[in-house]
């Protein structure tokens, strides 16, 4: 029975998880959304009908037409082209900031969980204190000090996401490090480094992957919020949140300027949220419904 199952799964839990992910409708939908986003970002120069930065005062606030499918903004720039180029920034923000959070959080969580004691206490109290702030406010504080720039916004979003990763990996580490195969590895003479990176981390991967996907979604939202407040991407960068900020003054005259960048944000964020939900169902049946 067990052998049959093993054969069926091909012996690789990741393949099995991938297969389960492809079976979940929302997971597939998420992958499709993200796929479209990535393709648009890669082929932006090919797809975009106009230069996203090209201004033409004579053409400001033009309603959607065949020449400008989504209309033009206050500088006469083509909104569709700006949204297409904006996908590059949002993906970059999501990957870069969550990359920072992932690497730092996993590192801190692993050593806190594995070594325990004072190290654990100090690290986790710092994480608790960071969690005592409403996330976006901490990001606002960091950017307010470092200066309003996209790079600083990414850094701030990375920092505020560290505690979640640290907590997840710490709790997995604590439960895994007592398992027999860890004791076996230690008896075979494996050092801490080998145990942590070859035995602990691979087994703590599932919740980490789910959290990473869902965090990219929030990171894109947070970056858009910072840019909307003027604390992230600066003009004339075609960032979705910054585009919405520009649109505030022309709501009555040109509502399309505000409408489409918002829809683009929803599309991107929804993609990662759907995939995160699908992955959660596929990787960890226990976490279902949460």
């Amino acid at each position: 029975m067990a052998e049959e199952k093993l054969k069926e799964y091909g012996g690789n839990p990741w393949l099995e998880a991938g297969r389960r992910l492809m079976k979940s409708r929302i997971g597939v939908l998420g992958i499709v959304f993200i796929g479209i986003l990535v393709l648009v970002a890669i082929f932006a120069p090919v797809i975009a009908p106009h230069d996203p930065l090209e201004q033409n005062i004579l053409k400001r606030y033009q309603a959607p037409s065949s020449e400008h499918l989504l209309g033009t903004d206050e500088m006469g720039r083509d909104i569709l082209s700006r949204i297409i180029y904006g996908s590059r920034i949002s993906l970059q923000v999501g990957l870069f900031s969550i990359g920072i959070a992932l690497v730092t959080g996993v590192f801190l969580g692993l050593i806190a969980g594995y070594y325990g004691g004072v190290l654990d206490m100090v690290i986790m109290r710092i994480m608790d204190i960071m969690l005592a702030f409403p996330a976006i406010l901490l990001a606002i504080a960091i950017v307010a000090i470092l200066g309003p720039q996209l790079r600083n916004a990414m850094l701030a979003i990375g920092v505020i996401n560290i505690p979640r990763f640290a907590r997840i990996i710490r709790s997995s580490t604590i439960s895994i490090k007592e398992s027999e195969y860890i004791a076996a590895a230690r008896m075979m003479g494996a050092n801490d480094f080998r145990i942590i990176f070859h035995h602990l981390l691979p087994n703590a991967m599932a919740p980490l992957i789910v959290q990473t996907t869902l965090s990219i979604a929030t990171a894109i939202l947070e970056a858009a919020a910072l840019s909307f407040l003027g604390l992230g991407a600066q003009p004339p960068t075609p960032e979705w949140g910054a585009m919405l900020s520009d649109a505030r003054s022309s709501l009555q005259r040109a509502p399309w300027v505000a409408t489409f960048p918002g829809l683009a944000i929803i599309f991107g964020v929804l993609g990662f949220n759907l995939m995160g939900d699908g992955l959660r169902d596929a990787l960890d049946p226990k976490m279902k419904n949460v």
Binding site: D128, P134, A135, I136, L229, G262
Partner: protein, 334 residues
Amino acid sequence: MINYIIKRLLALIPVIIGVALVVFLIIHLIPGDPAQTMLGERASPEALAQLRESMGLNEPLHIQFIDFFKGLLRFDLGRSIMSNNPVMAEISVRFPATLELSFFAIVFAVVVGIPAGIFAATHQNSLFDNFSMLIALIGVSMPIFWLGLMLIWLFAVNLGWLPPSSRLSVGINLEYITNILFIDSIIQMNWAALKDVLSHLILPAIALGTIPMAIIARMTRSSMLEVLKQDYIRTAYSKGLQDRVVVYKHALKNAFIPIITVVGLQFGVLLGGAVLTETIFSWPGLGKYLVDAIYARDFPVVQGGILFFAISFVFVNLLVDISYAAIDPRIEYN
């Protein structure tokens, strides 16, 4: 119970010291001279020296922190550079506006989110279930500032049903007592003002409450689904009890704990969201004040505002923990 509350309050002390330290360090570890950053490149050396003196920037860092923390214990957060008023006074004028907005937002979120979640759970896989969960998923994926803009565009600009900004129309007379205008107008039995206050609240409260509403609906649904599978629910049904009684009396009570946690946690989302919502709706609360202070590089206000937000968040989390007791007597407080 009293012991538990005291214990939890004591446990807050290190957290609050930590929060204060983080806020302090963020402001004081600015690369370069904080006085220069605040006053700009063209500030005169005299002005810089004066600001350094008045903010105690000449002292060593640890002395500065001790002074800052001592001030905090006396509710003294320094003075605003913009207005030269005490930061605490500025905050206490504006906080009621934020509180009022957050209250109505969470009421909206709970009143819509919980029934939607219950209905979705009791009609699992129905059209309503799928549709409402899709809406909830879009709700959590939506930037609230965009939702705010769309609400303003539709209901204020296009239809003209509701005002697009501020708390009170020009020309409405209302004496500010608590600064929570909803309460002020009731105390003064000024119904015209009450109507005006409520009409100003609707759009920002919906904008701010939508993400919590979506999260609460999702949590209510999954929590109810979990409980409805239990044996005692089957027993209740087999006793011949009506659907309504089983769902609302037997199931809901036990499904409530995760729901309350989520509602409490959403308060943090609300405080963060208030910054964005207040900016869009020109709502004169703490969030907008904080953003204005950031633009003006008024660091004492930035420091005080963020600290105030964080400490309120910490206290709300404590209240959430304590309120479990009222709902679940099984929880022991040791």
